[in-house]
């Protein structure tokens, strides 16, 4: 049985680490982009951002001061049991978020949407957002903490209910226009990881887009060759736009285009777009049934 204290510790540490360490795959992709860019401003946006991440890792600040929305993606196995039941996961997430905020690893950013009041601890209805899914026969839990920055979420979210007659051309046009609009003046903090959901219901579609942007290792293509080809085509197109890091003149507005699909209504072709910013914050904690926690910047 996984104890509440173990969950809290793992969620806090994963969230805290995500705020101060850039995942290795994201860092490697940014270093590659820095080599590619020729415009001095484009290069400088990247070298400065990498230096900033180095300072954060050395305990001198944060990877980005907008720590955004506190998100946890939790996956349990068929034989996982939790002290107090699965509801404990949500309570542990709240405690971990409050602690990370208290210790200045998260900025107090979550406010009531109408009153605009700020409780100062990033807690409130819906936050932290915990998505609990089940997979496999194990008895452990995998937690991915993802403080999702405001820029990428606020300026990098689009949804369009297309129709079968709009075709793949419609998907391409929607995604390309969304990249152009969201990268304008560096709104989503490019180079961005673009998540695209195709199919499902509206909420499933956006959820797929978000997970495609946040939870896939940079450079991994979709296993379905048809989807993988579309990903590559859109990435190649984005690199020709003339938009670079932070919206400058350059090549790397986008590090990856990741698409996920779900079956949908025969009358519909829903498409959702959700961006992740250049720092790609996420950190993974794996908990075993005997309370052993291991952490990784990878998402395997």
């Amino acid at each position: 049985m996984i104890l509440r204290s173990t969950l809290e510790e793992a969620m806090y540490t994963a969230m805290r680490t995500a705020s101060v360490q850039m995942p290795p795959d994201v860092r490697a992709a940014l270093e590659q982009a820095a080599k590619e860019e020729t415009d001095p401003m484009a290069r400088r946006h990247l070298t400065v951002s990498l230096q900033n991440a180095d300072l954060a890792r050395a305990g001198k600040g944060l990877v980005c001061a907008d720590t955004g929305f506190p998100l946890f993606f939790v996956q349990a196995g068929a034989h996982t049991t939790v002290e107090g039941g699965f509801e404990t996961i949500f309570q542990a997430a709240a405690a971990a978020t409050a602690r990370a905020t208290e210790e200045c690893f998260l900025r107090p950013t979550m406010v009531d949407p109408l009153r605009r009041s700020n409780p100062g601890n990033n807690l409130g209805p819906g936050m932290p957002k915990v998505e609990l899914t089940f997979s496999g026969n194990g008895d452990g839990i995998r937690i991915i903490a993802a403080p999702k920055g405001g820029g990428s979420e606020i300026f990098g979210t689009f949804y369009n209910m297309l129709f079968p007659s709009d075709g793949v051309a419609g998907i391409k046009k929607f995604v390309l226009e969304s990249i152009v609009n969201s990268c304008y003046a560096g709104k989503i903090c490019p180079p961005a990881i673009i998540g695209v959901g195709v199919g499902g219901t509206a909420d499933l579609c956006m959820s797929m887009a978000k997970k495609a942007a946040l939870l896939r290792r940079v450079g991994v293509r979709h296993p379905d060759p048809l989807v993988a080809e579309l990903e590559q085509e859109l990435l190649d197109a984005a690199r020709r736009l003339g938009i670079g890091p932070m919206g400058s003149r350059g090549i790397n507005a986008v590090l990856a285009v990741n698409i996920e699909t779900a079956v949908t209504h025969t009358a519909a072709l829903p498409v959702a777009f959700n961006a992740q910013c250049l720092v790609g914050r996420r950190w993974t904690a794996m908990i075993t049934a005997d309370q052993n926690i291991t952490y990784t910047g990878d998402v395997a």
Binding site: T47, N52, L176, Y184, R249
Partner: protein, 213 residues
Amino acid sequence: MKNITLPMSKDTARALQLGDMVTVSGLMFTGRSRFHIRAIEENIFPPLDYQAINCFFHVGPVMRDTPDGWEVVSCEPTSSIRFERYGADVVRRFQLRTLIGKTTMGARTAQALQEVGGVYLSKIGLSGNALRDQITKVRQVFFLEELGKTEATWVYEVDHFGPFFVAIDAHGNNYFEQLAADVSRALPGIERDLGIPADYAFTNVNPDSSANM
């Protein structure tokens, strides 16, 4: 690299060109959405000498309360474009010659900056940790109880703060608008190569607004 002493003079502002990289030294105040809305809609703003403290830094810093006073943990400029509704009014009201933020602002704010002789400076990469070290003193904070640490107005004393680049000059030119025009010119060719017809239109299932006019 040029270091500019704050408050920036009209002459200094008007001599800056798009893309110039600069640092600034002197006094600045911070604010985000709540500052803009309250200043214009409710006439509530910090009682500062805006002639002396004339640089508006768009940011929600991470601040730590310590026994020795407030400490900046990290401060990353925030997206200025979302303040565009109030940007021009705020620039005119406080006669601001320096705005510092992320992204850009729109045509109305650019017009106001041209009138007062001011510039908009945009951030270079993520540099919130280096910027923290260039803040030499946290002078004051306003509206902390009402607005919280993120939306409160902080007054900072800074030394060689930046660099930032001139994204809107004092003559109404915008770096990003020029860049966007180039992107618009590249787009049709890219769409064609993706197999999107030049006259492509998404299926419209709503009342045709042009037919109702």
